[in-house]
Amino acid sequence: MKASTVRRVGGRLASLFASLLIALSLAFLLGRLSGDPTATILGPMAPPEQREALRHELGLDLPVVVQYLDYLKGVFTGDLGQSLQFYQSNTSMIADRLPFTLQLVGAGMALALLVGIPLGVLAATREGTWWDRGASTLALLGQSVPVFWFGMMLVVLFAVKLGWLPAGQSGSPKHLILPALTMSVYPMAHIARLTRASMSDALAEPYIDSARARGISTRRVVWRHAFTNAMMPILTIVVLQTGILLSGAVAVEYVYSWPGLGQLALQAIQFRDFPLVQAIVVFGALVFVLLNLLVDVLHSIVDPRVR
């Protein structure tokens, strides 16, 4: 491996590590700014002596720097602490909830791809027509509509009025439909718009004219030649959107009482359970950093110019 490549990889890893450290530090600081957790644990009527005793037991009476170093040591040794409200290990709680968030994000992203890419390609291949305007309007709507509102409307229509689907919670494939649909709307619109732009550029390239001149079918030109070359930005946005969805499924999980990480984060915030909030933030940051790394790796594989 060339020295310059090693330097570039090292630099990139260092910058990702720095991002992670900043996220960890912010999570720690915000946790300390969120009020006294003993008030929530013991209730308002507990006497100050009991409150102090609990603060001592939780290590909250130690200097903030010591607490911070203990916290970092825990994170890097895989110990994310214990929840103040559930009295359980935060790592095991995250592990319990992660499969639900993965299901939701997986299904939502798959729907977004299945609809977003064909919609974008359709708009690009019929540029300036009503197809293009319709697809662009749909994409714009998808990016503008508030997820929370859209979710509630779906519940009212499909669960309350029509009774076709469950209003929320989990347990069967039917329970996944509305949350996944809600989850998919924003990335679907984003992917559709990006696909359209990317495909328009690709379709204007001389090699496309050349392919057409050679008599290759339109379908093959669009999907094999143009789409393959337009795919890199789409792939990047898909990976990054997945990261955003993984760490930002709060609204959808809240609306549908979906038992994933977002719901857990919300409850932790409401209870001022800052060790749990910190653990979820750490997890989210780690996922994001790893996905960024994945994007870098994919870029270097697909495009030799960035190697």
Binding site: M45, Q85, Q88, L102, Q169, P173, A180, W223, T228, Q270
Partner: protein, 508 residues
């Protein structure tokens, strides 16, 4: 280039399709479909809560989870419909042997569902844990208890430092845990599969999704009519409404006023119960501006609790004129009636500045209530500023005596005894400490030293009069009304004012 090839064109879409199918399949692996609304009669009751219960360990757990653990665990002493202790539970009788000694008789031949004996030793162990555990929610209740002994299998002797008539009342919120199992499992292990003497036993839980209990076939009392209860939760009130409307659950708890009205309009049966939770405005008499008694009186006269209840809650709260009237429906003999003109007159043209501190988003409509209180004060001539705080910070500041002016928050008693509010809010060394007065301290101690609640009642009336009517340190506002909705054909769910629910007679 291999990756490039595999990601080519339609294969990319095929991958997306496969992800959808796998996602749906995984969901199916998560458990059975809970939407079994066709079941009837003794089928398990599907209860929807407003939040996932925190720990199910009753020693350290918040009382919000009581609805769940109280299906499996029982309090040491039962309460009747008037919230007074009764002899129908695990402890069947109690006598005050002398001024500071209580002797309790424990029901014989009762066992925990794991076979451990639920005898006097178990009762003594539970009271000791409650008094001594660092994170015990009820630790402060038992600060006066000096000794807890079990001389034989059915007798428990509790000694206190000074006389205290309400010890049996306090035991109504202490839930019996099996000594060996609790010690072996620890708090976390116990909460993961609680064991008690109650009408239901632990059935299982799906992390973050549900908790199930099933009928205890060996229960010592009247056995449950239904096969069990499955608890699920939804933080969003509109979701709780949608789930009951779509018949996905049998009972949906904690519907705020707007959702309760919407449910009624949609033909869903809604039950409203006045709770013991009181919202109170505290005036700090130790700091300006309310170190001036005239200004406290002006503020107390300016605030119109009836208007607040009518204007903001539309019948979903009950105006409350007293501080120590702990039982729903109870009102004090003396109270303050709003009189805006007199309040203005007392201010005499002055415009003192008042800071209103309240826990943002902690209680239903608390923002609107704070604005209404502020509006009344402004009308009388006060200049008002608002300080919304998160709950933890507010409590910390109150304990640190850093909340001048007026603060609004709730008193949620776990037991229906006036001392809960006297010790918490009135004594010089109370949490709020906003009304230090040696006379209050003396009367508070005298009240506790009476023989029973009846004898203590006049003293508590006197204390209420001093705090609310004479010194104007407290402006009681209202009691919260708790709403829950039941699905078609569901009956027998009984909600108690102290956040307890009896599911044993529920059917669907």
């Amino acid at each position: 280039m291999m990756i490039m090839k595999s990601l080519r064109s339609r294969r990319f879409l095929a991958l997306a399709a496969a992800l959808t199918v796998v996602g749906a399949g995984l969901t199916g692996c998560g458990g059975s479909d809970s939407d079994d609304s066709g079941a009837s009669g003794t089928a398990p009751i599907r209860a929807l809560l407003a939040a996932q219960p925190a720990t199910l360990d009753p020693i350290v757990g918040a009382r919000s989870a009581q609805i769940v653990w109280a299906t499996m665990l029982e309090p040491l002493i039962n309460t009747g419909s008037d919230l007074a202790p009764t002899n129908t539970g695990l402890v069947t009788s109690w006598t005050r042997t002398d001024a500071t000694t209580w002797t309790f008789k424990v029901r014989p031949d009762v066992s925990f569902s794991n076979g451990e004996k639920a005898d006097a030793a178990a009762v003594a162990n539970t009271i000791t844990l409650t008094r001594d555990s660092a994170a015990s929610q009820l630790k402060s209740y038992f600060g006066n208890v000096t000794a807890i002994e079990a001389p034989d299998a059915t007798t428990v002797v509790v000694k206190t430092k000074t006389p205290q008539y309400d010890i049996p009342d306090l035991l109504t919120t202490v839930y019996l845990v099996p000594p060996k199992y609790y010690q072996e499992k620890g708090s976390e292990g116990f909460a993961a599969a609680p064991v008690g003497t109650g009408p239901y036993v632990w059935s299982g839980a799906n992390a973050g999704r549900d908790i199930s209990v099933k009928r205890n076939p060996d229960y010592w009392g009247t056995k449950a009519t239904n096969e069990g209860v499955t608890f699920t939760w939804a933080n969003e009130a509109a979701q709780r409404l949608a789930l009951i409307q779509s018949k996905s659950v049998d009972v949906s708890f904690d519907l705020p006023p707007a959702q309760a009205s919407a449910a009624k309009s949609a033909g869903v049966e809604v039950v409203s119960t006045e709770t013991a939770m009181k919202i109170i405005a505290f005036l700090d008499s130790t700091k300006a501006p309310f170190d001036d008694p005239k200004l406290r009186e002006a503020a107390a006269l300016a605030i119109d609790r009836d208007a607040i209840v009518k204007g903001i809650f539309d019948g979903q709260a009950v105006a409350d004129a007293g501080l120590l009237n702990v039982k729903p429906g109870q009102q004090p003999t003396q109270s303050v009636t709003a009189d805006a003109a007199k309040a203005k007159e007392l201010l005499g043209g002055a415009t003192p500045t008042v800071q209103i501190t309240y826990p943002a988003a902690q209680y239903t409509n608390i923002e609107e209530v704070s604005q209404a209180v502020g509006g009344s004060l402004e009308k009388a001539g006060f200049k008002v500023s608002y300080v919304p705080l998160d709950y933890g910070t507010l409590v910390k500041r109150i304990v640190g005596r850093q909340v001048p002016g007026l603060s609004i928050f709730a008193g949620v008693p776990n037991v229906a005894v006036p001392d809960y509010f006297v010790s918490g809010f009135m004594k010089t060394k109370s949490i709020t400490g906003n009304c230090p007065d040696p006379q209050i301290d003396t009367l508070a101690q005298q009240a506790l030293e009476q023989n029973d609640a009846q004898q203590a009642a006049p003293l508590y009336e006197q204390l209420n009069t001093i705090g609310v009517v004479q010194k104007h340190c407290y402006v009681p506002l209202y009691r919260q009304v708790f709403n829950y909705a039941t699905g078609p054909g569901v009956s027998g769910v009984v909600f108690g004012p102290l956040n307890t629910v009896d599911f044993t007679k529920a059917t669907r």
